[in-house]
Subunit: 356 residues, 2 copies
Amino acid sequence: MTRIDDVARLAGVSTATVSRALRGLPTVSAATRRRVLAAAEQLQYAVSPSASRLAGGKTGTVAIVVPRITRWFFGTVVEAVEDFLHRYGYDLLLYNLGGREQTRRRVLRTANLDKRVDAIILVATPLRPADVAALTRLALPGVTISSGSGVPGWPRVRIDDVAAGRAATRHLLDLGHTRIAHISGDPDDELAFTTHLDRRRGYHEALRAAGIRPDPSLDVESQFTIDGGIRATTELLTRGEPPTAIFAACDEMAMGAMSALRDAGLRVPHDVSVIGIDDHDLAGVLGLSTVAQPAAEQGLLAARILLDPLGVRAADPYPGLVPYGADTDADEGSPRSVILPTRLVVRESTAPPRAN
Amino acid sequence: MTRIDDVARLAGVSTATVSRALRGLPTVSAATRRRVLAAAEQLQYAVSPSASRLAGGKTGTVAIVVPRITRWFFGTVVEAVEDFLHRYGYDLLLYNLGGREQTRRRVLRTANLDKRVDAIILVATPLRPADVAALTRLALPGVTISSGSGVPGWPRVRIDDVAAGRAATRHLLDLGHTRIAHISGDPDDELAFTTHLDRRRGYHEALRAAGIRPDPSLDVESQFTIDGGIRATTELLTRGEPPTAIFAACDEMAMGAMSALRDAGLRVPHDVSVIGIDDHDLAGVLGLSTVAQPAAEQGLLAARILLDPLGVRAADPYPGLVPYGADTDADEGSPRSVILPTRLVVRESTAPPRAN
DNA sequence: CTGAAAGCGCTTACAG
DNA sequence: CTGAAAGCGCTTACAG
């Protein structure tokens, strides 16, 4: 294994100079830099991250924690973050909670992240007070994406879930529906986090604004997954007269609902309209109406916000990559928290209720 | 920041003993171990990975390289690998190529991985000779999943893509179809790798075995994505009389095909049958017939195979997690290469051709 | 602009 | 079973 002193010897300089030249520090003459780079190239030299980190006090690594990488939203966020961070030379450590409380605790609470990363991105991760305390104790920069309770001092990137729930419900109301069901996360579902509470609130608000009292029998709790949508819808259909429309808290649940409705012999949207939230990759294929949220943009924005306290040089070498017009969420008291806009996308799964 | 000598002082032992006790080495008395653990607990001590790695010569980190984490197969593989490796205390460094040749080269060829990880998992990553040479030079253990060209000495985990293509095509033939189209990856599509070549070969073999000469006008190249499926199918429909069935090289393409057919006013399976390969999460919802491949199992198996050369203690503390009965691919000359079985799953998207 | 030297926080022979 | 000491391969003041 070639080390820094091999390069130093070949280039005829000290290891300190090699270190400086290789990292592009300005205090190296052009001629010296050239010689060092040539020597490093010739020897196929790669700096040892461990040694560099120990000496330099930085890990060059960011941790990202997601509930389930296989869900559309989280996969899309991770992809965007990975792309951005690698451009700036950061490594991405992936933690996939997989709905296991034990894993969540191990990742957040133990000394796991300590000394291992320079910063943390938490995506829709439930945080108990003890977790927040542990994260605060780490004293690292961090960002949360679509997380309910934040970490003091950490910016937050998210959408307005209440508004999204309202928009979805209002779309159904505008079509003339009055028996509108809602399927969403249950309290035990770690993946749902608090997102489902906000979306449900939007549902209730929209109904009440239309003079409709929410009917508990039309409100079913389940998991934020395809299967969760299937189960919730099946349950809904056993409760008596079916609703004329279903608002699912995420597209995956909406897809499950479409599947369950079809299996029950009901047509979408002829018998029942369905709308979700997300704008999943496959929403178009399924003709699913939805309230679109910008997933990749949330990841990109979070990554960019994170790089700032890490003292990353270039301000934004990829202008245009990050969406403009993001509102600063001043209420939070956090630096540069951001709420990104959502957008109603009407496809074939919603229509006026059948006249009967 | 508390360091190892803080713990040593509090426990009244040397740092060497703290190091041994914390890592569970057997050469520490029970009483001493207890005192060390208590001291570490009390001080909230976390070992510095950088220092530990530099001194110990191991990074405790595995790199996984995937074309696109957002595609079903890759997301599922990463989730399984992450779970398995974290159980054994390894960190997972994620590299998402995103179809960028430049990124692929940066990750594989430069000194990127050198000294940074203990082992590498390559998922469906195209390897040019220079890449193979670079990987070989690293002299690290590795595994490839569903990759065409392997790395000498690295085990391979995959399915038999030719057989999968054959099975899908034969299913359509068995239903009575003779005008069977195929949509698959094109040579420029990094994501498709060589997988599409094998699946196409299976298609050709099955046709020929049935006495049908492959019709080039029914064979369309596109991307391994939903959009790719849409484009390929649209192209197919412009070429004259539509086929009575389409075999798509992956479920995402098949879903795109279903969407394009619907947009063209054709019904599935009444007018055109569609089958894919994968058994995507949403295949059930869409009623898509497919040749199922075990994605999580390929990830798990690859992770387990990888841990062996890393000298991980426990053989398999999670028996049953990894599928048995995997055939050893002796031809390869690689240690413990494995081919996992696929399975035809018939749903509603395939039916006999319409009588006309 | 460059170098000598200390130091980052561990682990590992080696000795006992 | 335990400790003293060297060493892992860099980076960073400090001095010039």
